[in-house]
């Protein structure tokens, strides 16, 4: 879903850069105030973890395989602000080191993958926590959150392409959300399984982030 350069027009490029830069500036301020300098090493290591987690391949139907995207997982484990900052660092490194996504399209990729990927699913989990959920319900909410964290960025990506006049709105939206609705199911299943393991071994790590969020 990383948009390369050449697909977005200047207006969209600028708009996305503005939103992303603003969000990350606020997020940095909030994380700094809350946990002090301790966050930085921890967040750095967690960003590296997201990278490593994306290395694991999961077999899907017919010889294809997929991997975790991790935006929702980062937000759940670290909180919205920290999660989106870590994902922003991941996206920036993907751009500068791996050429995943363009230099000018970086603003849009930050917006889609780092920001929307981190914030679009967490509210469901927060909502479920208000009702003191059973383990099953909590995991289900996590799955729904992970699904949304894939589908909403895909829709935003389609929107940006449409805004740039590159691809027609409706078809792009239907196709992008359609494909990612399936990818989202994989993300949801993997995320649920990962969270279940963490909940079993170190439940305190999960509790901390949900208190913060």
């Amino acid at each position: 879903m990383h948009i390369p350069d050449g697909f977005l027009d200047p207006k969209t490029t600028l708009l996305c850069y503005g939103i992303s830069a603003g969000w990350i500036a606020i997020a940095l301020k909030r994380t700094k105030g809350r946990l002090g300098e301790k966050t930085v090493p921890l967040m750095g290591v967690m960003g590296a973890f997201i990278f490593a987690a994306q290395m694991f391949n999961f077999p899907i139907a017919g010889g294809t395989s997929g991997h975790l995207l991790g935006g929702f997982l980062a937000a759940l484990l670290l909180g919205v602000w920290e999660g989106s900052t870590v994902m922003a660092a991941v996206v920036l490194i993907q751009c500068l080191v791996f050429q995943d996504g363009g230099l000018l399209a970086l603003g849009a990729n930050l917006l889609n993958i780092a920001i929307l990927g981190a914030i679009s699913g967490l509210w469901i989990v927060k909502l479920s926590l208000l009702r003191n959920p059973s383990k099953k319900l909590f995991l289900l909410a996590c799955g729904a959150g992970a699904w949304l964290s894939v589908v909403i960025p895909a829709a935003a990506c389609a929107g940006e392409l449409g805004l740039s006049g590159i691809a027609p709105w409706k078809t792009t939206l239907v196709a992008m959300t359609g494909i990612h609705a399936l990818i989202g199911v994989v993300e949801a299943i993997i995320t649920i399984l990962i969270i279940a393991v963490i909940k079993k071994i170190r439940p305190d790590l999960l509790r901390m982030s949900s208190d913060k969020a």
Partner: protein, 248 residues
């Protein structure tokens, strides 16, 4: 380490490798911007840009085959877009036909990705970070990035080791079991990473870490480099002016 491909050519020695990272980032941004602002039908302009990039690649001494291989990464996106253009063309610019528009996008994104590959393989990541920091990107964010970069290799190594162990143990296992065991390995990797992060932090505290990292300032903007950068920008602008009056 099995990921030496990451920084593979960024330690070569060429004028571009030696240049100030700030200058490289700014010139690359400017170049990509002017590529983006090119009319899709203006083939002459694209060709001249291609020529400039090709000469930069030659100056940088990076094997062209490597650049070619890395730049193929945009193919999936191009396929995706072409599918959309195949199905429905309502609301698209009336000035150009879908074919010209599509060709324009392919050329633009290809030139841009070659430029980006050139930028990242002529600069080490720490030097890019130094450049970004001098360009007034938030210090905390730079610190975060440098931590991340340091630990990516360790964790990716660990992830690869875990995967190898898993594969040799569950040869022939069902798909669902494989998925489940991989997920729990990621969960365990998270816990280990978290604990590692806490250890790293306390180790740093005991060595007097107070939130800032002091590094030697190794980048220096030389006058000659500024002139070369300026010349490059001027050439790009001249290409733009020239091709606008001689549009094909």
């Amino acid at each position: 380490m099995k990921h030496s491909y990451l920084d593979r050519y960024s330690n070569l020695n060429s004028p571009i490798h030696r240049a100030d990272p700030r200058l490289k980032i700014l010139v690359a941004l400017f170049f990509v911007l002017s590529i983006l602002l090119t009319n899709s039908g203006n083939l002459l302009e694209f060709a001249l840009y291609g020529l400039i990039i090709a000469s930069l690649v030659i100056i940088s001494r990076i094997p062209p085959l490597f650049i070619l291989k890395r730049s193929l990464m945009i193919i999936p996106f191009i396929v995706l877009i072409s599918l959309f253009l195949l199905f429905d063309r309502t609301g698209l610019s009336a000035e150009y036909s879908g074919k010209v528009l599509f060709r324009g996008i392919v050329i633009k994104s290809y030139l841009a990705i070659v430029m980006l590959t050139l930028l990242s393989s002529t600069s080490t990541f720490p030097s890019l970070l130094q450049g970004l920091q001098r360009l007034k990107i938030s210090k905390v964010f730079i610190l975060l990035l440098s931590f991340m970069y340091r630990y990516i290799f360790i964790l990716v190594d660990e992830a690869m080791r875990i995967t190898r162990g898993k594969r040799s143990r569950e040869f022939g296992a069902g798909k669902w079991r494989q998925i489940k065991s991989t997920a729990s390995l990621i969960g365990i990797l998270f816990i280990r990473t978290y604990e590692r992060g806490e250890r790293v932090y306390s180790a740093m505290c005991s060595r007097g870490f107070d939130g800032t990292i002091r590094t030697l300032n190794t980048i220096r903007l030389r006058m000659a480099e500024i002139l070369v950068g300026f010349a490059l920008v001027t050439i790009i602008i001249l290409v733009k002016i020239f091709t606008h009056s001689h549009a094909l």
